[in-house]
Structures are given as C-alpha cells and as structure tokens.
Symmetry: C2
Subunit: 325 residues, 2 copies
Amino acid sequence: MNTSEGKLLVGIDIGGTKTAVLLSSTPPEVIARKEFATRPAQGPERALELIKSGIHEMLAEQGADSTAIARLGVSCGGPLDRVQGIIQSPPNLPTWDDVPIKALLEREFQAECLIENDANAGAVAEHRFGAGKGCQNMVFLTMGTGLGAGVITDGRLYRGTNDLAGEVGHLRLTRTGPIGHNKKGSAEGWASGGGMAQVAQHAVAAALKKKRPTRLAKLYRSGGPITAKDIGVAARQGDKVARAVLETTGEKLGEVLAILVDLLNPDRIVIGGLAMRLGDLLLEPARRIMRREALELPARTCQIIPAELGESIGDAAALCIAMGI
Amino acid sequence: MNTSEGKLLVGIDIGGTKTAVLLSSTPPEVIARKEFATRPAQGPERALELIKSGIHEMLAEQGADSTAIARLGVSCGGPLDRVQGIIQSPPNLPTWDDVPIKALLEREFQAECLIENDANAGAVAEHRFGAGKGCQNMVFLTMGTGLGAGVITDGRLYRGTNDLAGEVGHLRLTRTGPIGHNKKGSAEGWASGGGMAQVAQHAVAAALKKKRPTRLAKLYRSGGPITAKDIGVAARQGDKVARAVLETTGEKLGEVLAILVDLLNPDRIVIGGLAMRLGDLLLEPARRIMRREALELPARTCQIIPAELGESIGDAAALCIAMGI
C-alpha cells in the first residue's frame, strides 16, 4: 500500500440509513472502511463529524495524514448542486438542507472533494467494475424503495443539463395506479419496492375478500407494510398472490425497459437492488414485456441483467467519484 | 470559392420524393445544387446514375473534377448499415434493398463517402446551424409522416448500439389508438402527420354523425386522406373539429416531450416538419402537457422550439455527414 503524498482516494457514501467512509489506492479495492448509522433525524452535524473523524482515524491507522489524500468523493441522493458541492434536500436525508459538503471537507482535508448523485455514480461503478464492464451504452436502474437511473452513453456518464437525466421513476405508465415520485401510475409507482408494497396491499385485500389464502395475509392484517422481501419469500414458497404481485411489477418494469431500449438503444440495462434479490421472478416477466413492446433489433441487442457489485456498490460508487468519474 | 484538390464537400440527400446533390466548401453555404425526383418505384439504378452524373456536372461547372472532393455524405432514411455504408430498406424507398452506396460512390469519385440516417444528421444540422446552436443536450424530433428523433448528448450525436437510438415514434402512449410504427397507440400513431390523419378521420366521422359542421367534411366524403396541411388550414379558419384534432395531437406530443425531458434532461427539444408549419397550434398544448407531466426543474429548463433550417435541413444534414458529423 502506498500512502505517500496525494496517493489515497477517500470515498464517502451517505445513505438514508448508513454512512460509510473508506480509503483506496487502487479502486475498487478498499484499504480501510468505517461505517455508522446516518440518523438523519438528528441533523447533518453529527454525521459530518463522524465522517471527518472516521477519515482521520483511518489515515492515522495507515500511518498517514491528510496530505496523503489525492481526492475525496461523496455519493448521496439528489437533488444536489454538483458544481458547488451542496447536498440540497434528498428525500432520504430529511434535515440535510443545503449542506455545503464540498467546502466543509476541502477545508478539513485540504484536498479536492467532488460530489455526485448515487444513481449516476452507481452507473459508473457498475460500468467500470461490475455488470456493465466493456459496454459502450448502458443504463443502470436503481430499483429499491424508489426507481432511478444512471445513463452511460458512448462510454461516458450522461448527466443532462441540470444533472437530472435518468429520472425514469417519474415516467407515466398509466393514468391511475400506485403512487411513486408523487405521481399516480408512474414507473416508480409500479416498478419499485414502494410500488410493489402498494400493489401487494391491493392484491392481498382482494384475495381475502374472495377468501383465497395467502402467506401475506398475516402481515396485511397486522397493518404493517408488505416489503419486497416478504413478497419474494412468499413467491418462492409458491404463494399465488405474491407471484401475481411480482408478475405485475415485472411486467411494468418491462414497459420501462422498452422505453429505454427504444430511446437509447443500449448494449445493457443493469438493474440493482430488487433485481439482484428477486432475480428471474422479476426479470423473466420484465424481459418478456420488453421484447413485446420494444423494436426487435434493439430488444435483441440489449441484455437485461442484475447488477454485480451488490452491497459494495456504494463503496465503488464513492470511489468512482473520487477518481473524477 | 476554392476548388483546389480535396476542398469540396458533396452532400447527397435521398428522400422518398426528391433527391438533391450539392457542393459546398464552407457548410452550410451551398456552391451548387441539383435536384431530381427519386421515383423509388423504378428501382435505385436510375437515381444512382442521376446522383453520379449530377455531381460530375456540378464539378465541371465549377471547373473542377472529382479530385476536388474532400468527402461525400449521404443522408437517407434508415435502416442502414452506417459502417458498411449500405442502405438497407427504408420504408420511404421501396426497392432500395441493400444498396452499397458507400462503395459505389467511393469507386466513382475516389473519395471517402459516409452515410447516416436523416434524423441523426438532421439533429446535427439543427445543432450546428439551426435552432440547437450553442446547446449541449438536444433532441431533434422529425415530425412528418412519421415521428423520429436524433439525440445530442454533451454536444455530440448519440447513435446507440445499433445506430437506432431515438426511436421515439415506437414508444407506447396508450393500449389502443391510431397506428404508427406498426403499433397501436404509439407516439407515432398519435403525434405525426400520419397519426393526425387517423385522428381526423375519426373526429370528422363523429362530427358528421352529430350533424356538426366542419370544413373537413368534403375531404372526408371524397374518401381522400385528410392531411396535416388541411387540418392546419381549417383550424386557422376557426374550424372546431380541426382545432380539436390539433389539440389532441399537441397533447400527445406533450406526453412524448415529457418522457424526453424526464429521461434526457435536455436544454432544448427542436421539432421539425409539422411544428414549423403549425407552430403554436401544436406547440401550445404540447408545452402545457409537458409541464404537467415532467419534473418541474427539467421542464422549466427545456425549451420546446420549432426547427429553423426549414426546407434546407436536408442539404445541411447531408453536408454535416460529409463533414464527418
């Protein structure tokens, strides 16, 4: 490991639940890593202090100090001002309103700090180190609670004019339907963890009314949310209601894929989050509808595959930002 | 004018109705130009001979020969094989099946020949010389009989993996509805000249059934197609049925614009063809729906404007291809 002056990259991945700080000299390998709960309800100050102290501690453990830092990269949810380096007010970080993280960290560590939204940085990470390796045109779909995308065109990240390209969750699929991105019938309403939970609520209610059994009944009656994980478990056990929910989500995901295929004609669409966990339960109906809806040659060309970086995507994304994307 | 060795660009614009050949040393200015009817029903041979003889004649009129040619550029409808330089079988050029135009013209003129589809080349032309000047991220919509698009990302043409990016006419807007691109309810079915004719047929039939007068009744009764031009003329004369047709087309165009705005976050969407002729009759409802459907900041950022090059876009597009795009 080389900790001489200006050789280390610092990655900072700020999520709604957890924040990680890490050091690397040869991404995506990680030399040192610390993780803590973000606790956004407590305001950004505590987390910012933990980010700073965590980086200092990791450096000290390597026998280095901040002069060893080449660049810092911060990955977090948008909206953000990438040029000014300000986290504006991500939905997953309530209280983080206009946090000038670039200036704060540059002052602390006397090194350049870049910031980028997590969908864009995740797209670059999957393209450079994961399921997108070697392809020229790629869309990375983040399918978690919400639905977002990062777009690679001709091998480079395409950000759009306001850094807001790839807002695929906001596309309308139907006039009415589950809500996502504040819009009924949107792609996020249909094809995300949050959307799947809404579809499941309706499906379980309808099944109970018809006195059809389902493993999801207990969860429904307890009034708790039905998560994508619950649905996946029940579907693998053969639960028909859970399977129908996954089929609906997969088909709507397929409509989204068809739009991306017809508009962007990519080599690959790489899907993170739920697609990694649910696999073909989700991707089989998605591919079927994509092939029905999209133009034949682009549909045949485009591979639809789960992301590869798994839990490490946040680390790799933050390091890609520190590399300058 | 400089006709010394290798200084002239040759543009060749092959359309379903007309073909133009032209010379330029400083695009988009044109030194010489010849035009003839393509007559695709007669096969490609006649048109190819006229292209070759037209170029030789123009060169001779300038006191030059083929050694003066720097490069030739061919613009025509897809599908085509850009790398091999083969026109495959454009819907507007029946009988032009697998015409190796690059090889034919390179042999004839001993100069490099490039080919590109007209929507892509039109996007570059509007970006370089027309309504897209100075912007980084642009979509050029060709709204004629059909609906196509060329996409500029970060100042450069984005072609996609099979040269098929921007197939916006194939996107589905509704389950049923007018047909375009062989698909019911597609964007081309709703928001193109061909789609507008279908919507008008239905609207006039419904009006006549309810004994409501419309200036389009005579056309309808004669069994002829109701063209976008007819609808525009009647709408400007205050015809309510024609206005309603334009409103529907404009609103559906707005849905397409919203998809482009949410996915690509462009500075500008430049619309050729019908938008130039119909102006705000079409663009006012389109902008209204786009603002309702798309995310607020990207919608506010994106200008929706008619193309500027008008009738000369084919010439400028062919010259952009000869320039190497």
